[in-house]
């Protein structure tokens, strides 16, 4: 079998295209089915590391402090994300607790840690020697992508707050702002397709024939 350089296959309909050099802000789409083929990345990977570090910091704040607290009849109660998972476990909802823990905590944390590991060596050196476990970790990033749901959780928090305002005094905790920041950071970080690590490691930028 032979490598065909500079070809892109559409994952939506199997069409074959030659890879082109994209200009900043451009996205190549399949002319037949509209699936995105590739988007301009430029040196996005060089700006990723600070975002990942900020993401990890926000992640710590978001999970160590209460998200919201309520006051009912002079008594208060608050919860962290882990507290909510523990409450579900206590109620015999182990499966749901695991799902919540995985989608809002474990998977996003894994994604951030793997990205940190892959980005720490200068991406320029990826061509020479890839870090240990490179192939497996890039694959892991791809598999985790659909299952990290921090942004959905944030909307869930907001819905829960509105639900409670009629019957209790609701006070936003320090973690709420951290979740907002984390959602914004993760959106920026995860717009970088994991496959691009392979492009960084192997492909010379496509040149026009």
């Amino acid at each position: 079998m032979q490598l065909v350089p500079h070809a892109i296959l559409c994952e939506g309909c199997d069409a074959v295209y030659p890879r082109t050099r994209l200009q900043p802000g451009e996205t190549a789409r399949c002319s037949r089915c509209g699936t995105e083929l590739e988007r301009y990345q430029g040196d996005a990977h060089q700006r990723m590391l600070p975002l990942v570090l900020a993401g990890l910091l926000m992640f710590a704040v978001a999970n160590l402090f209460p998200i919201v607290s309520i006051m009912i009849g002079g008594q208060s109660s608050d919860t962290t994300l882990v507290g909510a998972v523990a409450a579900l476990t206590d109620e015999g909802m182990g499966g749901v607790a695991t799902l919540v823990l995985a989608t809002t905590l474990l998977f996003p944390l894994l994604q951030l840690l793997v990205l940190l590991y892959l980005l720490l060596p200068q991406p320029r050196q990826l061509r020479k020697n890839r870090p240990l476990g490179f192939a497996m970790l890039v694959r892991m990033l791809q598999m985790l992508q659909p299952w990290g749901m921090v942004e959905v959780f944030l909307l869930g928090v907001l819905v829960a707050i509105v639900k409670l305002t009629s019957s209790a005094e609701v006070i936003a905790g320090p973690a709420l702002g951290a979740f907002v920041a984390l959602t914004v950071l993760l959106t920026a970080i995860l717009s970088f397709p994991p496959r691009n690590f392979w492009h960084l490691a192997f492909d010379a930028p496509p040149s026009r024939p």
């Binding site: 939506g12 069409a15 509209g34 009912i72 008594q75 998972v85 109620e91 799902l99 909307l155 019957s167």
Partner: protein, 219 residues
């Protein structure tokens, strides 16, 4: 606009994880760059999609009929299903919120089940109708799938937060477990479905090899 050539007709296989394109590779061979097995199409795509969809339909009933949340205070105990929560928001005047929850928790899962069933059914029959619309439908299903998890997170948070002994307590109901299962199963079903099945045997394709020509400008 001329139809593009397909990888199938040119004997090309792309590696899903790393994007390398191979000529003359056999189905299931290891990618020479990252070692993942190469597949022309997702293996067993339709069977897996049908199986997961059937399981999701099955769980859809208890998800909507069983209580997802039990609220108790000094005076009474209230059991809420997905829809009774929406109705409560609606009658108390929180129309925006009622709409958000109704769309994310009720309409989206139903729409996904219907859309995936349609896609799998038409792919199975090698239907040539509305291929572009079906491609768009698949992309929509992929994007909205995760948002149905909203209710699971709301219940989890309330169960963790509202725990004031005697005054107010919220516990999760069995319905939320069924509901979470539906969301996971439909997400797995959409990941199992191979959108290329929508286009297989689409005719006619140009006979030129696109890789021998100067590239067109991306849009």
């Amino acid at each position: 606009m001329s139809e593009p050539r397909t990888a199938q007709s040119l004997g090309l296989i792309a590696c899903h994880p790393c994007g390398a394109v191979w000529q003359g590779a056999t189905e299931g061979a290891a990618c020479g760059r990252c070692g993942s097995p190469l597949h022309r199409r997702k293996p067993d795509s339709l069977n897996r999609t049908w199986a997961l969809l059937a399981a999701a339909y099955l769980m859809y009933l208890p998800a909507n009929l069983l209580p997802v949340m039990v609220t108790s205070n000094l005076l009474n105990t209230k059991q809420d299903t997905i829809l009774s929560g929406v109705i409560y928001f609606w009658v108390t005047g929180a129309w925006g919120l009622a709409t958000v929850v109704f769309v994310a928790s009720f309409l989206v899962p139903l729409f996904k089940l219907g859309a995936l069933t349609t896609l799998a059914w038409m792919a199975q029959r090698h239907s040539a109708n509305n291929r572009a619309d079906r491609a768009r439908l698949y992309r929509i299903v992929e994007v909205i799938g995760r948002w149905s998890m909203l209710d699971v997170f709301v219940v989890a948070l309330l169960a963790g937060l509202v725990r004031i002994q005697g005054l107010a307590e919220v516990t999760a109901g069995l319905g939320i477990a069924a509901f979470a299962t539906v969301v996971v199963l439909t997400m797995l079903a959409s990941l199992s479905f191979d959108p290329r099945l929508t286009w297989d045997d689409a005719q006619p394709l140009s006979t030129e090899n696109p890789l021998h020509h100067p590239p067109h400008e991306p849009t």
